[in-house]
């Protein structure tokens, strides 16, 4: 069985889903089922008076592991606060750590992320940090003991695909010295997910590309197949590209109706 681990949790699915932006809980639930996702992220937000809060959300997410995020945090202190509330709400020790100061590009703050990770680990959290494709930062987080590193493929929600490929290849090369690498953010198509899985990275996290598809359930299935195809291709050992062509048919014995070549 081809499994992977986040902390001490063993997972079969290499597709983590974000729960944001789905038009209703029913579609979200069907999409999770079609994706065969085992882990789904959730956010923590203030309640409004007399608002039902997350009524229906927990029911829609029944049977999957909830991964609370710190989305909305701009500093390490804010991330810590949100993470502690997430732990109380979900009863889970793990947290997807996001510290994002800039709303235009939604790029993670490496300094604040490192600071927050250190504090969260001291408090017993299992930390899954969202980062830029920065191998130096990833190794520092690994040395602290984070359960994963989650480099971005492109800005959150952009659907640009694997724009950071050259730098993600370094993550693949350095796999042995890293915790599981989950490519998070920017994937727009199942082929993007297949691409990073073919590189030997461990998993992907997808939200917008599925939630904003015309048919989110079908797209969730397509992403599942993309992830599975990419993973199988990696395990199968891809051929090495050549500089010139290489015929697939024998070069000898071509019936030319004349002298041998």
């Amino acid at each position: 069985m081809d499994t992977w681990k986040v902390g001490d949790i063993e997972l079969k699915s290499r597709l983590i889903l974000g729960s944001g932006k789905f038009r209703d809980f029913g579609v979200m639930r069907e999409a999770i089922k079609a994706a065969e996702a085992e882990v789904v992220t959730v956010a923590i937000r203030r309640v409004e008076a007399r608002m039902p809060g997350h009524v229906g959300l927990l029911e829609a997410l029944e049977g999957v592991c909830l991964l609370p995020n710190t989305a909305g945090a701009r500093t390490a202190e804010e991330a810590l606060r949100i993470a502690r509330l997430g732990r109380v709400l979900t009863g889970e020790r793990w947290v997807k750590l996001e510290v994002i100061p800039d709303p235009t590009y939604l790029l993670p703050d490496p300094v604040e992320t490192l600071r927050a990770a250190e504090r969260l680990l001291q408090e017993g959290f299992v930390v899954l940090p969202y980062i830029g494709p920065d191998l130096v930062l990833a190794k520092k987080l690994a040395a602290l003991g984070t359960a994963t590193v989650m480099p971005l493929a492109a800005p959150i929600g952009s659907g640009w695909g694997v724009r950071t490929r050259a730098l993600l290849e370094l993550f693949a090369r350095e796999k042995a010295s890293l915790p599981p690498v989950v490519v998070d953010a920017g994937l727009g198509l199942p082929s993007h997910a297949a691409e990073v899985m073919e590189m030997g990275l461990d998993a992907v996290l997808v939200n917008t590309a599925i939630a904003e598809a015309e048919d989110p359930v079908a797209m969730a299935e397509a992403f599942r197949l993309g992830v599975e195809a990419g993973r199988k291709a990696y395990l199968a050992g891809p051929m090495r590209p050549r500089e010139v062509a290489s015929p697939s048919s024998p070069t000898e014995g071509v019936p030319l109706g004349g002298p041998k070549r």
Binding site: T41, V42, V47, L85, V88, L89
Partner: protein, 64 residues
Amino acid sequence: MVWLNGEAKPLEGKTLREVLEELDVDLSRVAVLLNEEAYPGRELPHRVLKEGDVVEVVTLMQGG
């Protein structure tokens, strides 16, 4: 004044539980941050709010 979810409100003298009852939220689905301590909605400390307290009442939402 007490800061409740980012707004200054005259809640001094009320208990946390009273504040949550006024918000009319399901206690099993919220968490409360009182200053820097987080509590499940169903396990609130008996605490009378005082001037300058910061209270956040939160719940899970959809998010990526």
